[in-house]
Amino acid sequence: MTTIKRGITILLTLTLCLPALTAAVYADEKSTAPAPPQNDLSALLNTIGKKVSDFTSLKTDFTQEKEMAMFKEKLVLKGRIYLQKPSKIAWHVDSPVRYSVLITDKFIRQWDEDTNKVQELSLTKNPIFQTVLNQLTVWFSGEYGSLLAVNDVRVKQNDPLVLEFLPLEKNISKKVIKSITITFREDQKYLKRIQITEVSGDVTTITFTNTQLNVPLKDADFEVKGHV
């Protein structure tokens, strides 16, 4: 059984190619800012990273829109994200179906309305979720400086700040991701929107609203069953 699980995770890892990526927004926006030199870009990413990472807990609503060739219409999900540093994230989808997942550094616990069952998996045996957690950590923690090595980073707009990350050849996400664009809030303390454009043409946009930083979170916020 263990070997099957391991096989599954290996295959999924192989096929999913979960990347060391970042974020996105407004792929269609025209670049309005000249490309700063590499040193300035690195300094900018570090400065932004410091601002964005200056919190211990986060609570935000989100709307995820997916324009996918697979579906006739745009898929719109609404839900909430709770994050407690260093590595505890709850992702609750409220509509159109109810689904919750809690990802910690040790395990993943998920529940869905359809089966009404809670499933718990060890994170060490699920590299996909582990990688997702890593990516979420990158987005939310603001460690953008490290992404410069594997992405071509452009400042698309200065006010509000919009950064576009284009995976370089050596970036393992290059095969799947065309670009990731991040739009920051006016105060640059957090993200406003992430847009991921896939090579296939599919576009996923996550917009954060009612974001609250450093607010006390309840245990119930991290429960997956009956969270609504």
């Binding site: 070997t3 099957i4 391991r6 096989g7 599954i8 995770t9 290996i10 295959l11 999924l12 890892t13 192989l14 096929t15 999913l16 190619c17 979960l18 990347p19 060391a20 997916k66 996918m68 060739a69 697979m70 579906f71 006739k72 219409e73 898929l75 999900l77 992702w91 989808v93 179906v97 689904y99 997942v101 990802i103 998920q110 869905d112 359809d114 060490t124 590299p127 996909i128 979720f129 582990q130 990688t131 997702v132 890593n134 979420l136 460690e143 490290s146 393992i172 996400s173 290059k174 095969k175 799947v176 991701i177 991921i196 896939e198 296939s200 599919d202 996923t204």
Partner: protein, 794 residues
């Protein structure tokens, strides 16, 4: 005849005294200089039997690149540092390890490349067989397809769907599930419990990463291994402080073994030299005793040079015997020195020369026996030791008297030396009774002695090497020993076709979970072509149309578009021309499964090294000539069988030589038996004591025991000769000093860290002490009983 020959030879030497001493001095000087240029062999192969199966296995391990790999585990230790810093360190080290020493460095697997190579539509048609297609056929039903679409729809709400939702378009039936069974071999094939993240190997705890380094340095090459380890340590020293490393690989054992043996030899030589010197100066209180002391040292130097000239590189293990040989071969000089000190007359000196010669001949024959072994290392040991003994004999008989009778410094005479020892009167019957009783007990105990054939236990690597391995396996697993099933072929395709057949039979025999083969996830071109044909036939015979229809029926409910699964249908037959990327993941994985040789290819499969699996798969090798199994367990058993067979032959041969030589000397069975009492005692007590203390015998201490019999038989012959013929040549003191020097020579090996040298020391000390005690206590008692018995009838 001996008397005349010896007298004439000694006259010649005495006449040309200055020239003889000059030549000896010059050769010794040249030998000492030559020693600085001699290189030794750290390879333990020399000591292993040349049995066909063993040789083939060892040759295989040498030819394959399996043993020329080094694996480095890097750990990030600072709590505020993470994977980012760890991977940076891995990349830094990876970039620093360059040819010619390091030919290839693997720090991970490119997921992007892997995704291409193993994408469902590229991979499944080639690898899925008839059975799997039948299972796909079973899924072409309305309920299953509907359930699948629902699953894909629900997946879109999960966080991971950000990356994977579009991939579902190429796999509506979840065919990847069928590939799981195949791909589960991938981590197993690595031999480690490893995950991959950001293109790097990562441990499950996320704090360790791994580098697999291929090197051009053969594992057994001690000189190059030392350079390799030095460069590696230098590069590791450049890593940040918060990174620690553990390295595993055969090279570390080679370097460490050599280091330990060298240290042991140094320590043994120093202790033995000091002990010999102190002993001689205290007992004899005569600076000329120094000449007796240096004879074996000169003989060792000469012997190393001559043996190297004849045999090529000598094994370190052979040289490790040096101190023991020195201890053994000092006896002849001792006997001559004591006889001269006692002022023995010319007739007694000729008798002494005869005794010393027979002593040396028995010792030479005990080493000569090793020439009947098929193990090449024993031949080296034999030649080296015989030369050493012969040179010592010649020096003792012809050179030592010249220096002892030096005109300017007369020998300090002491006609009573050793008399006190000889005057001890043992109660003969009681002594013989006690000896017989103890020997019977030892003989009974000896039936319970264990024989340990595990040659790995003769590995003397330092604790740091073993500790690094322990750390490594605690993090990465891979400790379970694996055996290898080898399938040869003139071409890669030949080997892979045969490998496909072997795989089919092997999994029936030991189960697919116990047999990791290349055939599992990459079969021969013929099999793959056949699979592709079957795949195409399968879909073209109406199933593609059926699936399209079923998807269309279920799509509306979940809002799937008409083109939702177009990538799947477009790619259904587009698998042709899929070449293998030489730098791709499959190519990297194949390195573990395919070995290219000058005369063809070998495909390797792995299975647990358990007797039941080996036995079951041996039946498969019988059906396919040329295939064979390489198993540590089998190797160990073969060595054990071979050694047992040899010992059953060599031990009686050694004893036979001793009996024949003793009889030739005495021409009398009673005296021959008495002279052999120390040999009998030494061997039986050794085995009995080993059994009593639950110490298993091994191949090394058996050889040491054979060699020791050649020494202790001298004690028996000497003591019997002295007592039966009432000589006054100081045999008792000579035997005692000889035993002391021998026990010192062998005893210092008890301080050795290397298990092979330690085992030698244990066997020689027990054998020697038992042989000595019986020669000075039991032999005189037996001689007196025999004399009384002969007198009574008179």
């Amino acid at each position: 005849m001996f008397d005349a020959f010896f007298a004439r030879a000694f006259d010649v030497v005495r006449t040309h005294k200055r020239w003889v001493l000059l030549i000896v001095g010059a050769i010794t000087l040249l030998s000492m200089v030559g020693l600085a240029f001699i290189r030794y062999e750290g390879n333990i192969d020399l000591m292993l039997p040349p049995d066909k199966d063993i040789t083939r296995s060892l040759q295989f391990l040498r030819d394959s690149n399996l043993s020329d790999k080094i694996v480095i585990s890097l750990a990030v230790t600072a709590p505020d540092k993470g994977k980012k810093e760890l991977f940076l360190a891995v990349d830094q080290l990876s970039a620093a390890l360059k040819p010619p020493l390091f030919t290839k460095v693997m720090s991970g697997i490119s997921m992007a490349g892997a995704m291409d190579e193993f994408s469902v539509l590229q991979y499944a048609p080639q690898i899925l067989g008839e059975e799997e297609l039948a299972r796909i056929d079973g899924t072409l039903t309305a309920p299953f397809v509907s359930a699948q679409l629902k699953k894909i729809y629900l997946q879109s709400f999960r966080p991971e769907s950000i990356f994977m939702s579009s991939l579902s378009r190429t796999d509506p039936l979840d065919i990847k599930m069928l590939l799981f069974g195949k791909l589960k071999a991938l981590p197993a094939s690595m031999g480690y419990d490893v995950a991959v993240e950001d293109g790097h190997f990562l441990s499950r705890d996320g704090r360790h990463s791994m580098l697999i380094v291929q090197t051009s340095v053969p594992m057994m090459d001690s000189q190059q291994s030392k350079e390799l380890v030095r460069v590696l340590e230098e590069e590791l020293g450049r890593l940040p402080d918060y990174i620690t490393t553990d390295m595993i690989g055969g090279h570390f054992h080679t370097v460490s073994n050599e280091k330990v043996i060298k240290r042991d030899i140094k320590v043994a030589s120093v202790i033995a030299s000091i002990a010999f010197l102190v002993l001689f100066l205290v007992v004899f209180r005569d600076p000329r005793a120094f000449f007796v002391f240096i004879i074996p040292l000169i003989a060792v130097a000469w012997s190393i040079i001559i043996s190297t000239f004849v045999e090529g590189k000598l094994s370190y293990l052979v040289i490790g015997f040096g101190t023991a040989i020195a201890g053994i071969s000092i006896d002849y000089g001792l006997l001559v020195y004591i006889a001269m000190k006692r002022g023995s007359d010319a007739s007694q000196m000729i008798k002494l020369a005869k005794l010393v010669s027979i002593d040396a001949i028995t010792t030479i024959f005990s080493f000569f026996v090793l020439y009947f072994s098929m193990i090449h290392g024993y031949h080296q040991l034999s030649l080296f030791s015989m030369l050493c003994v012969l040179i010592c004999l010649l020096f003792s008989l012809f050179v030592l008297p010249l220096v002892l009778s030096w005109e300017h410094f007369h020998l300090v005479a002491d006609p009573t030396i050793g008399d006190r020892l000889k005057r001890v009167n043992w109660p003969a019957k009681t002594i013989v009774g006690i000896w017989a009783g103890l020997t019977v007990i030892a003989a009974i105990l000896s039936f319970t002695v264990q024989f340990d054939s595990d040659v790995k236990k003769l590995d003397g690597s330092e604790p740091s090497v073993l500790l690094a391995e322990q750390h490594f396996h605690a993090i990465w697993g891979g400790k379970t020993n694996q055996a290898i099933f080898v399938v040869p072929g003139a071409t890669s395709e030949d080997a892979m076709e045969l490998n496909d057949q072997v795989y089919a039979e092997a999994i029936k025999t030991v189960g697919p979970e116990n047999f990791t083969s290349l055939a599992l996830f990459w079969s021969s071109a013929r099999t793959r072509a056949s699979n592709v044909e079957r795949w195409d036939r399968f879909w073209r015979s109406g199933r593609e149309a059926k699936l399209r229809r079923l998807i269309t029926q279920a799509s509306d409910r979940y809002q799937f578009s008409d083109r939702a699964f177009t990538p799947f249908f477009n790619g259904l037959y587009a698998h042709e021309g899929q070449g293998k990327d030489p730098n791709g993941m499959l190519a990297k994985l194949q390195e573990r499964f395919v070995v290219q040789k000058q005369d063809g290819f070998r495909i390797l499969s792995y299975f647990p090294d358990e007797q039941s699996s080996v036995d079951a798969l041996n039946a498969v090798t019988q059906k396919h000539p040329g295939t064979f199994i390489v198993s540590g367990r089998v190797l160990s058993a073969s060595i054990s069988d071979f050694t047992s067979r040899e010992m059953r032959f060599l031990v009686p041969l050694a004893i036979l030589f001793n009996i024949v030589l003793s009889w030739l000397f005495f021409r009398n069975w009673t005296e021959t038996f008495i002279a052999l009492v120390p040999v009998l005692t030494g061997v039986v007590w050794l085995v009995g004591i080993m059994a009593l203390f639950h110490m298993p015998l091994n191949v090394v201490n058996l050889v040491a025991a054979i060699v020791t019999t050649g020494v202790i038989v001298d004690y028996g012959i000497g003591m019997t000769y002295e007592y039966r013929y009432n000589l006054r040549i100081g045999t008792v003191i000579a035997v005692t000093l000889s035993a002391v020097t021998n026990v010192i020579g062998a005893g210092v090996m008890l301080f050795a860290r290397h298990p092979a040298l330690y085992s030698t020391g244990v066997a020689m000390v027990i054998c020697m002490v038992a042989g000595y005690l019986s020669s000075v206590i039991v032999v005189p008692s037996l001689c007196s009983l025999v004399s009384s018995a002969r007198k009574e009838p008179a």
